[in-house]
């Protein structure tokens, strides 16, 4: 497929890996922010092509992984209210709440439906006027325009039986939290390409300048990621800290203006809790007052007390890059994709799931066949 195959080309991967090897003279730590990038890195073994001392730290860029337990509990509670159809992206169903997950509730008879677009949930509301349809609106900036359109469309269609649980978070406050942490090791960032396709690059330019850290907006295919790493280590080696855009075929500096406009029409910026990072000011979205009748948490006010289960899961440390998944005592033992203890083992973009699927055998002593080789 065009715009896919050329970015998985072995010769290009090899050329980039060799160039990185020539540029790097010292150890460096680079964080790839997005879980999609983590997935590619682990799947294709890109970290294994890098020179020793160049460490990739996996970032918190997986919305499913950072959604706090309270929101899962809210969804579990709402889905059990009379007459409710809860619609969600598939990833969210297995994420453990404080006592149960959505898949368990569904198996017990709750009407929980997996949708591929927020507009599918609006269509279900239109087709079922006697039912209450609630969409679990999880996502980063990439997904915010789609979630905003669902509310906007419901209002235009005068649907009164549609609402959403909003669990929208914003990436720049998380990057700032990582940079400001006392034990921060991150010296450069690969920013999330699809988030920037919506928001543009301004916020990142400011972070790069004020925190003197190079940031490279990067795509998701092997060639994209290695090119982003090359751009980042070139900056680190010469001591610059600029914003660069490796993913210019998709990301414009100004972002997507119509998408930003509709997000601003429907949502306002509020504080939000993150699994692993805690409460971060200005890091979430909530429905504006004029759209509050679509807020499921107001429509179905319920108990929100959370009693955390004691767990060996160290999802928070994984999400902030303090440890790699295999260093968690529960990894591949008490915690597996079939029985996850933490969200990063659930989502395909979670670092734990990526290591489980692509690295478990090598951790067990079986050496996997690499996707690419660099001679």
């Amino acid at each position: 497929m065009k715009y896919v195959e050329e970015y998985r080309d072995g010769a290009r991967v090899k050329a980039l890996a060799q160039a990185i090897g020539r540029v790097v003279t010292r150890p460096w730590c680079i964080m790839e922010v997005c879980g999609g990038q983590t997935h590619s890195i682990v799947k294709y073994g890109l970290d294994q092509l890098l020179p020793g001392g160049l460490d990739l730290i996996h970032g918190p860029g997986c919305p499913v992984c950072v959604t706090p337990t309270e929101k899962i509990d809210t969804a579990v509670w709402v889905s059990q209210q009379p007459n409710v159809i809860l619609c969600s992206f598939g990833d969210m169903l297995r994420v453990p709440g404080s006592s149960e997950d959505l898949l368990t509730i569904k198996a017990r008879g709750a009407d929980i439906r997996i949708v591929h677009s927020p507009l599918d949930a609006v269509a279900i509301a239109r087709q079922n006027p006697e039912r209450e349809v609630v969409f679990f609106a999880v996502g980063f900036e990439t997904t915010a325009p789609a979630n905003a359109m669902a509310v906007y469309a419901a209002r235009r269609q005068a649907l009164t039986n549609f609402s959403m649980i909003v669990a929208q978070v914003l990436v720049p406050p998380a990057i700032l939290a990582i940079l400001q942490a006392e034990d921060n090791r991150v010296q450069g960032f690969l920013a999330a390409g699809h988030v920037c396709s919506i928001m543009g690059t301004n916020e990142y330019e400011l972070i790069a300048a004020t925190h003197r850290v190079p940031i490279v907006v990067t795509g998701f295919e092997p060639v994209d990621i290695l090119q982003g790493i090359l751009m980042c280590v070139r900056q680190l080696e010469v001591g610059t800290s600029a914003l660069e855009n490796q993913y210019a075929r998709v990301v414009r500096p100004e972002g997507n203006s119509p998408a930003k406009a509709l997000v601003a029409e429907v949502f306002e910026i509020v504080g939000s809790g993150w699994r692993g990072l805690g409460e971060l000011a200005g890091s979430g979205l909530a429905l504006r007052e004029v759209y509050q009748s679509y807020d499921a948490e107001l429509r179905f006010p319920g108990p929100c007390s959370v009693t955390a289960r004691p767990s060996t899961c160290q999802a928070g440390a994984v999400l902030t890059g303090q440890i790699k998944p295999p260093h968690c005592p529960a990894f591949a033992k008490a915690c597996t994709p079939e029985h996850p203890l933490g969200a990063p083992m659930v989502s395909t973009e979670g670092a734990c799931a990526a290591y489980y699927h692509y690295r478990r055998r090598s951790i067990d002593g079986v050496v996997p066949v690499p996707e690419f080789t660099v001679s």
């Binding site: 677009s117 359109m149 600029a242």
Partner: protein, 97 residues
Amino acid sequence: MCLAVPGRVINVVGDEPLDRIGQVAFGSVVRRVNFAYVPDVAPGDYVIVHVGFAISRLDQEAADYALGLISELEQANSESFSADCPAGLPSAGEGRP
């Protein structure tokens, strides 16, 4: 979650910018996609699609430029392994031509 994939626009219908939809081919798979956020899209364009919405139109010129830089690296690699890389990505601050 932010997974978004490139596809080729087959057709575009609707006049109101926020209501425009159409079909997009991802290899042999064809899906209906919302074009509210790519107002200038036309059949034959490639778009990046996320949860049923096109969020960006692919810029062929930018793609060619980035791949061209890698071709220069490949050439440099084959010519000399010992020399410093003479033709690579621009350093920070240098713009695209």
